[in-house]
Symmetry: C2
Subunit: 249 residues, 2 copies
DNA sequence: AAGTGGTCTAGACCACCAT
DNA sequence: TGGTGGTCTAGACCACTTA
């Protein structure tokens, strides 16, 4: 790509892998922003001195990872955090019966504080570093179903205000993206069964001791940096968490 | 592929998609069995009269779906239900800390009965049809952590005996595969929080009312037929369910 | 040495979209 | 009409496995 491979020394890393790395670096540097088109495949092939097939294979990788989005006849675009993407990729609570719906999000609490040990570990910061904590209440069908406790490192979100959260028209991840250039592309979730304590129960309008589904999520950027720790508590009386193991061909 | 495309009428379905369909059909017909190699890509290209690139694209699809497995220098093999595959693809319970481990499975109960409405719906049979119900207790680190209640349609597993379950050296899905030619390739799971009742609590050695994670799984064959309904109840005091949202590039 | 999958090329032609 | 991604070809060469 930049250099010819040394003679007789086959490249340890395939060209298209290297191209993925370069595309990710270019994306990370902000040369192509969410919502924008990246250059056409033929142009990328020229720019990097590889064949179009190799470009396609590299782009395939990033499309599979939901980082890029192909649109035939139009171009290839950097993925954005629309409501739809949030609903289909990151929101896994569905009604027991009936169609999936968008939650209505209400900000309950917003505060600054110092990272405790668990927060620090999850966010890859030092205990005591400034964190911002947000509590949201999510309603489905007009009923309060989920309490989200979100923690983010203040250093990654300079100047973030409570007002930005209140006035957010779209999803939280689109706020991270638009205002701070931080794109969540993947997350790890751990689930367990818990019970409603005195603090959570009234928010969800359930008795204390009601079993709740507790979801601990760490959201990552394309570079792999953790940028959000989220503890969701879900009333699963009429809703469920879904997971599909393998989409199939 | 079999016929030339009508002149001026572009094929509605791409060649490689059609090839996927044919490969799936051949797999379903049992021409290539789990663990066996399918013909080399060059041979498939000849056999179906397409280029090797098209064959590779079709095989890519089935490899992504965990139906086929490529091994460089050896061949492409039909996936089997090994312990490893079970652990990495279908078993999502991990210790709170420490490495993932295989569960030790103990058969608690085995019975035949008639499908109730929910079982019938899940297994795509008629209520009242014969079903086999299995209850397993799964231990991790020597502790009983999971109770699995499995229901399968008896008609799909002719001659299945309790003994086969007791003597199973590997996983249940490998029994389905080896003895009945039914390969589980994907599953849908729905999770909610529940509490231990009088029946489950003693099996897990917890007090009644202990919060448990309830997982309802329907497992499907490559053809999309549901072949197993499984209700797992998990003591999440020291273990968790994990879900990765997007593997990334 | 023979056979396998893995990478890469340099095109051709098509379907789709904007103008 | 021109540009985009989508499909498909017919090879070449490589890395790896097995015999």
């Amino acid at each position: 790509m930049s250099d010819a491979p040394p003679p007789g020394r086959p490249p340890a890393v395939p060209l298209y892998r290297d191209l993925v790395r370069q595309l990710v670096a270019t994306l990370g540097a902000g040369e192509w922003k969410p919502g924008e088109a990246i250059p056409a495949e033929r142009r990328l092939a020229e720019r990097y001195g590889v064949s179009i097939g190799t470009v396609r294979k590299a782009i395939d990788t990033l499309v599979d990872a939901n980082v890029l989005l192909r649109q035939q006849g139009r171009g290839t675009f950097v993925a954005t955090h629309t409501r739809d993407r949030m609903l289909f990729q990151f929101f896994h609570i569905v009604p027991e019966r009936g169609p999936k719906a968008y939650p209505v999000v209400k900000l309950v609490a917003w505060s600054r504080g110092k990272a405790d040990r668990k927060e620090a570990e999850a966010l890859a910061v030092v205990p005591g570093d400034a964190v911002i904590r947000i509590r949201n209440l999510l309603e489905l069908d007009g009923q309060p179903i989920i309490v989200d406790d979100i923690a983010i490192a203040a250093a990654r979100f300079p100047g973030l205000t409570e007002r930005q959260f209140r006035e957010r028209p779209s999803t939280i991840y689109s706020l991270y993206e638009d205002a701070f250039g931080l794109s969540v592309v993947r997350a790890r979730e751990r689930l367990r069964a818990d019970t409603a304590d005195a603090e959570i129960a009234p928010l969800l309008a359930v008795p204390r001791g009601t079993p709740l589904l507790a979801i601990r999520r760490i959201a990552h950027t394309l570079a792999g940096d953790p940028i959000e720790l989220r503890l969701s508590r879900v009333n699963t009386a009429r809703h469920e968490y879904f997971a599909d193991i393998d989409g199939g061909p």
